[in-house]
């Protein structure tokens, strides 16, 4: 018997002539958090909506808790919590009335007080929803998603519009839910959020999953980064090639900066070898390497290299 709570195989989805999702595969074991990353239009929300049962899969297989999320959605919905990308709340209701409504639709919900506390909205219980800030509405939305004690939680950009304090509180809530065994599928634009929360991630671009795995697995193989500020007297075309490649020149704080991505052979010591080569060049040219930095590739580097089709 499969222990995967979410299984997606060869999923395709199109809107008219536009193919939004082009044959993606991934699975999420019970009690893990899987993050889908990508730019707008990458296919994340479409994938979520198929898994949430809002639309059938055009092609491929999709299983949620062992069932078809569209065909069996009536049976699945009480076991699932959904936080859409936009709130969809009734402005005339107060916060506690909204949670009360959602409670009444569930079989074994949290109390209103528990839900308010989890979303850190206890002091807004009597406030009309239309008077909440964007971040507070997102927190209320999250409270509605968790009020039914879901086994699976879909969070579509949950912290968009939240201030840093609320974002950190939301991360803590999500971590607690995962620790309690809830399976979470998350989409986010915040790479830090994915790095902090996700057991595994997938980066989607143009309807395809370009890379997936744990964060260390995803960044592995994407080289190290070397950068330094180019002195004014050094012509750009005299800068050395490292690992066989010329630098990419960007302007930071008004100064040209040379950036190298070192991805060649020698996986254990390539940055060391390239740094040694760079230092040797600097010594022979009497160049001072101002603001020299050497670091491994970050998730942001990998993300940008994918979405910029590098």
């Amino acid at each position: 018997m499969s222990t995967e709570t979410i299984e997606v195989g060869g999923l395709r989805q199109r809107y008219g002539a536009f193919e939004a999702v082009r044959g993606i595969d991934f699975s999420v074991p019970s009690g893990q958090l899987f993050a889908l990353l990508g730019t707008n239009g990458a296919g994340k929300t479409t994938t979520m909506e198929v898994l949430e049962g809002f639309r059938p899969a055009a092609a491929g297989t999709v299983r949620l808790l062992g069932a078809d999320p569209f065909r069996d959605r009536r049976a699945l919905r009480p076991r699932v919590g959904i936080m859409l990308q936009e709130s969809g709340l009734i402005g005339d209701l107060t916060v506690s009335e909204t949670i009360g409504l959602w409670r009444d639709l569930h079989a074994r919900p949290l109390s209103v007080g528990e839900a308010l506390a989890r979303a850190d909205l206890a002091d807004k219980a009597g406030t009309a929803v239309r008077q909440l800030s964007g971040g507070q509405k997102r927190r209320l939305d999250l409270a509605l998603a968790v009020v039914g004690r879901p086994e699976v939680l879909f969070l579509d950009e949950p912290t968009t519009g939240m201030d840093p304090e609320a974002r950190i509180a939301t991360w803590k809530l999500i971590q607690d839910l995962v620790a309690d065994g809830t399976t979470v599928l998350l989409t986010t634009h915040y790479l830090e959020e994915a790095e902090r929360l996700a057991d595994r991630i997938a980066i989607m671009h143009r309807g395809e999953i370009r890379i997936a795995g744990t964060v260390p697995e995803v960044v592995a193989g994407h080289g190290d980064r070397i950068a330094f500020r180019v002195p004014a007297h050094v012509p750009i075309d005299t800068l050395p090639r490292l690992d066989g490649f010329p630098p990419e020149i960007t302007v930071a704080d008004g100064f040209p900066t040379a950036r190298y991505t070192v991805t060649g052979g020698d996986p254990d010591g390539r940055a060391h070898r390239s740094v040694a080569d760079l230092l040797a060049w600097a010594a022979t040219q009497s160049v001072t390497l101002d603001r020299l930095s050497v670091r491994p590739a970050s998730l942001e580097d990998v993300f940008l290299s994918i979405v910029e089709d590098k």
């Binding site: 009734i90 005339d92 039914g148």
Partner: protein, 246 residues
């Protein structure tokens, strides 16, 4: 099924609560239709004739179905869809029929209360009580179902709550003028009368009047049932949960 009914009840309670909380909704859905009915009944009374008064009162019991179950519900479904409230609800444990049924049930309750108010006026104005209340109930509930389904069709074709309410105006006007709620269809030319017999409000008015002592005709029930079927097919075809915007 039991859960669905509980959800319908909870969502109907929500919508009724919201109507009474919002002054403009209260005026548009509850008070204004009663005001129109009161005006027409007052005018009929002034113009004289017990038969005329009885005709207008029973006609108004039917015509009130055009307000809460049609005009208000069309606007309500559309604005909630555009604000993603419907989709948010659909993402919860309530089923699609329970979500739509809850709002339709709320509108039906408003219509029932309005019909009861006009019925009370009928009793007070010596028109009397219905001789067959069951037929009146069938007319009111059947009419509410048909027009709630038609409100879903109009909602599906409209991009905002305001436009949806505007789109109900032709339906209202045609129904008020051609169906036998103010003017008897006998006053129309033959061809127009034949068309009027098959309008959705006509069987509602005929059944209400049958409840008040006119001759009952199975054809009225058949036309009403046919409209339930047609409106169901149209609603399934045109109603949408996702916003039309972007």
């Amino acid at each position: 099924m039991k859960t669905d009914l509980a959800h319908v009840y909870r969502l109907a309670r929500l919508d009724l609560g919201l109507i009474f909380r919002n002054r403009s909704a209260l005026a548009n859905a509850v008070l204004m239709p009663l005001g129109v009915a009161a005006f027409l009944i007052f005018t009929a009374r002034e113009q004289g004739g017990a038969d005329n008064l009885s005709y207008v009162i029973t006609g108004q019991i039917a015509a009130l179905v055009l307000f809460a179950p049609l005009v208000n519900l069309a606007g309500f479904f559309t604005s909630r869809r555009e604000e993603l409230v419907l989709k948010r609800l659909l993402g919860g444990p309530a089923s699609a029929p329970a979500i739509l049924g809850g709002s339709a049930a709320g509108a039906t309750v408003v219509y029932l209360v309005q019909a009861l108010a006009v019925g009370a006026a009928a009793a007070a104005l010596d028109v009397g009580l219905p001789s067959n209340p069951l037929l009146v109930l069938i007319a009111v509930l059947g009419g509410a179902v048909v027009f709630a389904l038609l409100s879903m069709v109009i909602s599906g074709l409209s991009s905002s709550g305001e436009l949806a309410q505007l789109a109900t105006v032709p339906v209202m006007l045609i129904s008020m003028i051609l169906s036998p709620v103010i003017v008897p269809t006998e006053a129309f030319p033959d061809r127009l009368r034949q068309v009027a017999e098959f309008l959705p409000l006509t069987p509602v008015a005929d059944l209400v009047r049958a409840g008040y002592g006119d001759a009952f005709q199975w054809s009225s029930l058949a036309v009403l049932a046919a409209w339930v079927a047609v409106a169901t097919v149209l609603a399934r075809r045109f109603f949408r949960w996702d916003p039309r915007r972007g």
